[in-house]
């Protein structure tokens, strides 16, 4: 119709309204266009870069993100006088720091707005060679943690006259707190007797620094350091110590051909997530394959080339099956699969083959039929063949419950062999920490790798961590009056190192409240001659929340509430926590951008440090601000720039030591913390860390060139760059040549005259006169060449752990072994998981897998981030295999009651109520529910006398709960929502940043506090808490609500006792040492402290 009319089309367009009134007018004004032309900003950059050049970090201009989101500068142009509606240009000081939300220590940069002196965003640090400018969600969430509305704004103290846990608090100054705490510590130390040196306990959760923390108790002359390793990684450490006398392994992910993972660790969760994950991704891009052995299909398993859902805790059987094939089979060229060159030189087979007595024991145990006749390497290989022949495919299928998945074992072999020695692994959480005998998981897991040469630490293989790490944070001694490192304490603290667990790795912290309240135990060991305190005078957790994270949480509450057991307590805590609630003081300390710590993470074969720092302090100092008191610069900066009275340890400890604990120096403590430059005051951050970091020669040289006019050049370097890589390509470190100049050997900073050194029959070089059971040699000679060797007493990897077999009472477990049948499992309970399928008899009995990290919500440090809370809600149901669920009539979303039952004592611990989700992503018979969720609060806010606002408590991530406990039974029931909490205690802090809180859609009920229901399962050897639980499930009752828990903690106490008394081999009369002196122990006391005499009573 228009064809005809088209010619006359316009005649009809004489509108009554002008076009200008109709058109939308979406083209910008000239002013906006000009403002863009005049600026450096463009929508069409010639290249894209995440980070500006380092030279611009002190002043970097960037368009504001809030305006940039839609359309960029095409929108309104750049803000200027002539274009006031344009996009804001921010002027930033970019200050490097380090994330503190997990152990990985990825680099961060804080973008500090110069106008407002607020951090506008946290990004990565491209100068950090481990994280390479990248972060996970937790890194970016540091901003929302920093400006969390429920930050603790100043130190608070339990209100006089109130009891712990009542929730009544008063405000105090830092000096008032330091005075009271300092006095108590002073009085305790002044006693100077053995007991008092065990009564101050510094309990470190996530250290995230390398040595400053241990220096604190050591400078006090006490044995008072405690950590969280026994709920985290003790099993893996034990296995690694037995192999290499090293704390953990350290893979070269990026160059590996096979990424060999047990659990999702490294790739989508912990050690050292994000850095490892990136390197693993690089490797896979280059063609590497990935195997994940995990009962649960994690993100990693989901994208792996092979997922093997072995029954949890039986993985050692699978590893020994690989060993069986390696020693018996040949490669496609007909060559042996054992890398003889490496094994012959670097595994201690020679000591085993010489030890006839032990070989006869192997016969006695039924491991082999007869002792080998010869002592040669070839005889050793024959021995391996016999030892591991029973670990057949049929055996593994049955033991690991892989029926129907037999093909997966063949696939594993097809991936394992072609990778040669380029197999990278990180055996850490999951298996090694979940189970009794979890340490054998690591012990057995390293054997196939050792035999294939993958433990040589060569390119693409697996090495050991201390070669890839630098710990100097404890070594700023020369900046202090003392000028030297504090002496080792001469006492042994049984509260952290009880005599039942002489080779635990490390402190038995998860049973601290149990032994504190176990009068029978106390009496028993006192009678045998040990001097054990009945109370802790000062208990100081640091970035730790033991009440919530440890098993049997109600027992922790009981202990902390008892003033006769814990006389004074204070938590150095960046956030509110369940533990704070039961302390006398809560001292708010900094998050990632508010602390000063040297950290070093061994995430790849290099030696690197990173430096976490108080970014507002640094930005303000760069802008010319000066603190009144340089020893309190961080605190002053935080107060001045709106963060509140938030401090941190590297200024707090020197101050309290110098001014309050030992003001007159009479205790001999002050000198370790007083400044050499001005002995009247504490050492400052620049003084201390410049000294400590100057121990790195290459860093020192570079810093002095770059900062020739600075008083603290090394500190200045790390302040401006945030990270330093001292050495790259650290491969085959054990093959470093041991320096010998014809007269002297040079080893580990010492010089030994050749006459001082003697070589044993296996080539190890010992210092003459040193007790060989307590020391390690300085090096080893192999085929006429001198090497530094591994850190073991043999200087080799120890297939045979002589010390475990001889002095330390576990000969049957001194080589990698796993029980081969039910009779052996009964005979060797220490090697059998408490959730072995032998124990699952009823149709509703399951193994509960609790320890997998949610990558955005780990431990207890993320409840203060609205962003992390939002993405982690409803992610933590109980996973149940579809057919199991069907069998029990359980549907998605059903509330189920999960009852925990101990398989040693037979006692029941109680239950938690959780939501079930049937899925194919967990194996039959095994449930999964991460223990990283289920936080709680008992009040929405607390009123502080004289302070106009209520202090809110952990509201972005917790519902309000009601708690009951009577000394025997404890319960928790959710009763209030997140939003109700904000109505009752309105937000007053960081309001602008938190104006979106009314968008909170979640109720915080993302899990139950299952940790409290779980009894402590102390592994008799490694000491770890075996996290996994045997559970019985049923549908929840009408009155049960998701989030409910009910705990019989009286029974839990008996469970701890049963595991201790039925399974351990404690120190006994005749024993001379508390622990092998040569193996690692944090804050090692003197050899004198190791010596013990147990009375025969």
């Amino acid at each position: 119709m228009y064809l005809e009319s088209r010619r006359t089309f316009l005649k009809g367009a004489a509108f009554t309204v002008a076009g200008a009134a109709i058109a939308k007018g979406v083209f910008a004004t000239d002013a906006a266009a000009e403002s863009v032309a005049e600026s450096k900003f463009t929508n069409t950059p010639s290249s894209l870069s995440f980070y500006p050049d380092h030279s611009e970090w002190d002043s970097f201009k960037e368009l504001d993100g809030a305006d940039w989101k839609r359309g960029g500068i095409e929108r309104h142009g750049v803000r200027s006088e002539s274009n006031p509606d344009g996009i804001q240009v921010n002027d930033y000081t970019i200050v490097p720091t380090v994330c503190s939300n997990c152990e990985a220590g990825c680099g961060l940069t804080a973008w500090v707005d110069k106008k407002t002196m607020t951090v506008r965003k946290y990004m990565g640090n491209p100068l950090h060679t481990g994280s390479r400018g990248r972060n996970c969600a937790k890194g970016y969430a540091v901003l929302s943690q920093m400006y969390d509305p429920d930050r603790i704004p100043f130190p608070i103290k339990r209100a006089p006259g109130s009891k712990r846990g009542e929730g009544k608090w008063v405000r105090v100054t830092w000096d008032e707190a330091m005075k009271e705490i300092g006095q108590k510590m002073h009085d305790t130390l002044k006693k100077g007797d053995e007991i008092s040196k065990k009564q101050i306990m510094y309990h470190v959760g996530r250290p995230n620094e390398n040595g400053f923390g241990p220096r604190v108790p050591q400078s006090l002359g006490i044995d008072g350091y405690n950590s969280h390793t026994n709920i985290c990684s003790a099993g893996a450490r034990e296995g690694t110590i037995q192999w290499a006398n090293d704390d953990r392994n350290s893979p070269d992910w990026a160059n590996a051909k096979l990424i060999f993972l047990q659990s999702s660790h490294a790739a989508d969760a912990g050690h050292y997530f994000q850095q490892s994950a990136g390197l693993i991704a690089d490797a896979r891009k280059a063609g590497a394959k990935m195997v994940v052995i995990d009962p649960r299909m994690s993100n990693s398993a989901g994208m792996a080339d092979l997922w093997i859902p072995a029954w949890p805790g039986t993985e050692a059987a699978l590893y020994l099956y690989l060993v069986n094939r390696i020693v018996h089979e040949k490669d496609k060229d007909g060559e042996d699969l054992v890398k003889h060159e490496f094994v012959k030189n670097w595994v201690n087979w020679d000591r085993l083959m010489k030890n006839k007595e032990y070989l006869n024991k192997l016969v006695e145990y039924g491991y082999i039929k007869s002792a080998p006749k010869g002592e040669s390497y070839e005889d050793f290989i024959e021995l391996l063949k016999e030892l591991y022949a029973p670990y057949t495919k049929e055996f593994v299928v049955k033991e690991c419950r892989l029926e129907g998945m037999e093909h997966k074992l063949d696939e594993l072999w097809e991936l394992f062999v072609p990778a040669g020695s380029k197999i990278a692994t990180y055996l850490w959480r999951a298996g090694p920490i979940g189970h009794r005998g979890g340490w054998m998981n690591t012990r057995a897991g390293f054997l196939p790798l050792a035999l294939r040469g993958a433990l040589s630490g060569d390119i693409g293989g697996t090495s050991f961590h201390h070669w890839h790490e630098i710990s100097v944070a404890g070594k700023g001694d020369k900046a202090t009056v003392a000028g030297e490192h504090p002496k080792k304490a001469d006492v042994w603290n049984e509260l952290a190192w009880p005599p039942e667990y002489p080779i635990s790795t490390y402190e038995m912290s998860h049973i601290l409240p149990h032994i504190m309240m176990d009068d029978e135990w106390h009496a028993k060991w006192t009678k045998r001659g040990l001097k054990i305190p009945k109370s802790i005078a000062v208990y100081m957790p640091r970035m730790y929340n033991p009440v919530w994270i440890n098993p049997d949480g109600f027992r922790w509450i009981e202990m902390l509430k008892r003033e006769d057991k814990v006389e004074l307590s204070f938590n150095l805590s960046p956030t509110w926590s369940e533990t704070n609630w039961y302390c006398d003081f809560v001292l708010p300390v900094g998050l990632a951008g508010e602390r000063n710590d040297q950290q070093s993470t061994p995430s790849k074969p290099e030696q690197r440090i990173e430096f976490r720092q108080a970014v507002l302090r640094v930005a303000a100092e760069k802008a010319g601000w000066k603190p009144k008191d340089p020893t309190r610069a961080t605190l002053e900066a935080h107060m001045k720039f709106g963060l509140g009275e938030v401090w941190e340890e590297s200024e707090f400890w020197p101050n309290i030591m110098v001014h309050y604990i030992d003001p007159d120096g009479s205790l001999g403590v002050k000198k370790y913390w007083a400044s050499k430059k001005d002995p009247s005051r504490a050492v400052t951050v620049p003084e201390y860390f410049d000294t400590a970091l100057s121990l790195l020669p290459k860093l020192k040289e570079t810093a002095q060139k770059l900062y020739p006019n600075e008083e603290y050049p090394v500190y200045s370097y790390i302040r401006d760059h945030g990270a330093w890589t001292e050495k790259t390509d650290v491969y085959k470190p054990q093959e470093e040549e041991l320096e010998f100049d014809g007269t002297y050997y040079h080893a580990h900073g010492h010089k030994y005259h050749k006459d001082e050194i003697e070589k044993d029959e296996f080539g190890a070089l010992w210092v003459k006169g040193k007790d060989r059971t307590n020391h390690t040699p300085i090096g080893i000679e192999i085929d006429g060449e001198l090497y530094e060797g591994f850190h073991t007493r043999s200087k080799k990897l120890e297939f045979f752990s002589e010390w475990l077999a001889e002095e330390w009472k576990w000969p049957e477990y001194a080589i990698p072994f796993y029980p081969r049948n039910e009779a052996e499992r009964r005979k060797m309970p220490q090697l059998v998981t408490q959730v072995h399928h032998d124990f699952m008899k009823g149709k509703n009995e399951f193994a509960l897998n609790t320890i997998y990290r949610l990558p955005y919500n780990i431990h207890t440090r993320s409840v203060n981030s609205k962003h992390l809370m939002e993405i982690s809600q409803n992610h933590n149901p109980v996973w149940i295999y579809t057919e199991d669920a069907k069998r029990l009539g359980i549907k998605r979303g059903d509330a189920i009651k999960v009852r925990i039952v101990d398989t040693v004592s037979g006692l029941e611990s109680g239950y938690f109520i959780a939501m079930a989700v049937p899925t194919e992503a967990t194996r039959p018979g095994v449930l999964a529910c991460s223990h990283h969720a289920g936080r709680w609060r008992l009040k929405d806010g607390v009123t502080i006398p004289g302070f106009e606002h209520q202090l809110g408590i952990m509201r972005v991530g917790t519902p309000l709960y009601e708690m009951t406990m009577d000394g025997k039974v404890g319960t928790l029931k959710p009763k209030g929502s997140i939003q109700e909490g904000y109505v009752k205690a309105p937000v007053w802090q960081f309001k602008e940043f938190n104006k979106d809180l009314d968008n909170i859609w979640w109720d915080g009920l993302s899990g139950s506090w299952q940790n409290a229901v779980a009894p402590s399962h102390p592994d008799p050897i490694a000491g770890n808490h075996g996290w996994h639980q045997k559970v019985i499930i049923e549908k929840a009752g009408a009155n049960d609500k998701i989030g409910d828990i009910h705990v019989n903690y009286e029974n839990n106490f008996k469970v701890y006792q049963a595991w201790r008394d039925k399974l351990t081999r404690p120190l006994a009369p005749g024993d001379k040492l508390r622990r092998p002196y040569f193996i690692k122990r944090p804050v090692k006391p003197s050899f004198k402290a190791y010596q013990v005499e147990i009375k025969d009573v």
């Binding site: 009809g12 076009g19 200008a20 058109a23 939308k24 979406v26 929508n43 359309g71 929108r75």
Partner: protein, 217 residues
């Protein structure tokens, strides 16, 4: 100055203004009222004029229940009103500076305020039509000033833009809109826009190619 030329130019301005407005965002009550009350304008919406729903429902309800829904369906959800989608082999939208249309705008110092337009790229049909409107307006100013040389230069830009951009793809899009339209109103919007563009191209072709920019020929 020839009044016919100016009148004609005024009509072009008005029609580009109207079509750009209607293809860029939902019609509002005010504009709908203007259209309905101006017989000249309503004549461009013959189907809508006869549409029974228009007669039954008050404007607000008509807009909320039918016209907005249809607009969302045609311009936001199911059809892609962007040149790059039609012109690129991979059918990807180019929202950044590599978009040739943006480059053209930049050449003439035009910056699209994407948030105001509520579009993700400068090559949205509504924005391109508004660009034509801006050009026509400039041409009109030149004609009013009797600067025929400048006016013809601007008309040449209009001709090129229609030829190289709008007509290369918009007819396909508008035919799709006609096929998919669920209301008489947007059927007419598409039809009007399509036919007007074709008609205007004929006019420009005559002015620029045949008459070499001579308005009086």
């Amino acid at each position: 100055m020839n009044n016919d030329i100016l009148q004609h130019q005024n009509a072009r301005v008005n029609l580009y203004a109207l079509t750009s407005r209607l293809t860029m965002s939902e019609v509002d009550e005010g504009l709908l009222k203007t259209i309905e009350e101006d017989e000249n304008m309503l004549a461009f919406f013959p189907t809508y004029k006869k549409w029974d729903k228009r007669k039954k429902l008050e404007r607000k309800k008509l807009i909320e229940r039918y016209l907005d829904v249809d607009f969302a369906n045609l311009f936001l959800l199911h059809l892609i009103p962007y040149e790059s989608f039609y012109m690129r082999e991979d059918q990807m939208m180019e929202t950044g500076g590599e978009n040739p249309v943006i480059q053209l705008y930049n050449e003439y110092d035009f910056r699209v305020e994407l948030d105001k337009a509520r579009v993700v790229g400068g090559d949205h049909i509504g924005v391109e039509l508004e660009f034509m409107y801006k050009l026509c307006e400039s041409e009109k100013k030149a004609l009013e000033a009797e600067d025929y040389k400048a006016a013809a230069e601007i008309a040449k830009i209009e001709y090129d833009f229609l030829k190289e951009h709008l007509l290369e793809w918009a007819p396909m899009f508008l035919m799709n809109v006609k096929n998919e339209a669920g209301t008489a109103f947007y059927f007419d919007v598409a039809d009007l826009t399509l036919e007007f563009m074709l008609s205007d191209f004929e006019y420009l072709n005559k002015l620029i190619v045949q008459n070499k920019g001579d308005y009086t020929a």
